[in-house]
């Protein structure tokens, strides 16, 4: 009720101001409640040229992921540690837990930690966008226009991210992650963050063609203390590395033709999470 009243009042105010020929004043009044994304200026576009060159496609250094899994494990709290130990045992026994199930996005921070797929980074005025490959919605929007986090952002798989440049380092602060989003150390071992996770990242070039992401992950429901870790990615300029469309659900279907001769997708038979032939149990 109060929201509707506020909106009605504001609409009336804007209408009145517009009628008075005072559109600028109307926009200013609206700014406080509904900020706008301003039209980028030529200077805004030119400013992007001064940022470090992060063009190309970035592929994760998987051997380093594996090494870090062994040498820098998250400081799990006792309850999480018990689950993690069980999941490692299950993985060893050939019963891997499906961390990335249901074709949900891998989410943050697991995407940056365990992905085997490439991503690219786009700079536009007020925004850094990271576009990944593999699960259909692997996408991070990092607002660099100076805005704060919203007071009550909707939780999401990738959270709400704001960033700023500290010299040639992009500092990213991420909140509002779904409690169901995993903190995973591999594709079969990890636990949901269970809420209140906060991630601070420092993305920077280690050398001309190696990008580093220094992550500090605070997840008080599962970690005994904040966890610091780094992931590395190599730059690729060969066009064979260009990002491929990744619609995860497509993998659950195969090409078929219906009775009218139309090309359709037909479901694939799965058993314990993997596709199996028609004679399987």
């Amino acid at each position: 009720m109060s929201t509707r009243t506020t909106r009605t009042t504001r609409t009336a105010l804007i209408a009145a101001m517009a009628a008075m020929g005072s559109l600028a004043a109307a926009a200013s009044a609206a700014d406080q409640k509904d900020p706008i994304n301003p039209t980028p200026t030529a200077q805004d576009w030119q400013a992007l040229a001064k940022l470090p060159d992060w063009s190309g496609v970035w592929t994760p250094v998987i051997s380093d992921q594996v090494a870090q899994e062994k040498t820098n494990a998250p400081p799990w709290n006792p309850r999480a540690a018990r689950q993690i130990a069980h999941m490692y045992a299950e993985e060893d026994a050939g019963r891997p837990f499906p961390i990335i199930d249901h074709c949900f996005p891998t989410g943050m921070p697991s995407w940056m930690l365990i992905t085997h797929n490439a991503f690219e980074i786009l700079f536009t005025p007020g925004r850094v966008t990271i576009l990944g490959e593999g699960d259909g919605n692997r996408l991070r929007r990092i607002y660099t226009d100076g805005r704060p986090h919203p007071p009550d952002p909707d939780p999401s798989f990738h959270g709400h991210s704001i960033g700023h440049w500290d010299a040639d380092t992009l500092v990213v602060d991420t909140v509002a992650l779904l409690p169901q989003a995993y903190l995973a150390v591999n594709e079969a071992v990890g636990v949901p963050n269970n809420g209140d996770m906060h991630i601070v990242e420092r993305l920077h070039l280690l050398n001309p063609d190696t990008l580093a992401d220094d992550l500090e992950i605070t997840a008080n429901k599962i970690l005994a203390k904040p966890w610091r870790t780094t992931r590395k990615y190599y730059r690729q300029r060969a066009q064979k590395y260009d990002i491929a469309e990744g619609v995860c659900a497509q993998g659950s279907f195969t090409e078929a033709v219906d009775k009218d001769g139309n090309a359709i997708f037909a479901p694939v038979k799965f058993h314990n999470g993997v596709p199996v032939g028609s004679e399987s149990k």
Binding site: D101, H116, N117, E133, D209, Q236, N272, V274, P275, G277
Partner: protein
């Protein structure tokens, strides 16, 4: 049921082969495939499913007891990763006669993690791989 066996590599060889066929990006780990076991079947390609998150090669395998052909699925990493390793969606075609080396599912279901596939008519061999871990700039 008896099936057409070509060989059964040692655990060491199997582990080496698996090194080129690491778990793919999404969906699941490949730990449900028996890493210490490697089988090789010959068959005819039913479908080469070039999809994310995992590419799947569907093969009809003729049991050597003369029974009806059996459908098997062989899973590997994603189109993006395979493209970088030199594969295309045309690498393997419906009807191709192939020899498939794989790590089988532990429960005996008709599926496996693909280690390599060889086209029997040309001898061309495809191995899943993440490629070299280095920047490729030219």
């Amino acid at each position: 049921m008896k099936r057409e066996w070509l060989n059964q590599a040692s655990a060491i060889v199997a582990a080496a082969l698996l090194g080129g066929a690491l778990p793919a990006s999404a969906h699941h780990s490949f730990a449900m495939y028996e890493p210490t076991k490697t089988l090789t079947f010959k068959g005819t390609v039913k479908t080469f499913q070039w999809t994310n998150p995992h590419v799947i090669l569907w093969v009809l395998v003729q049991p050597d007891d003369g029974g009806a052909a059996q459908e098997w699925s062989f899973e590997t990493t994603s189109p993006g990763v395979l493209t970088r390793a030199g594969w295309t969606r045309q690498s393997i075609k419906v009807g191709d006669r192939v020899s498939v080396t794989f790590s089988p599912l532990r429960d005996g279901s008709h599926g496996g993690g693909l280690n390599s596939v060889t086209l029997l008519d040309t001898g061309q061999k495809f191995v899943p791989s993440f490629g070299k871990e280095q920047p490729e700039l030219k």
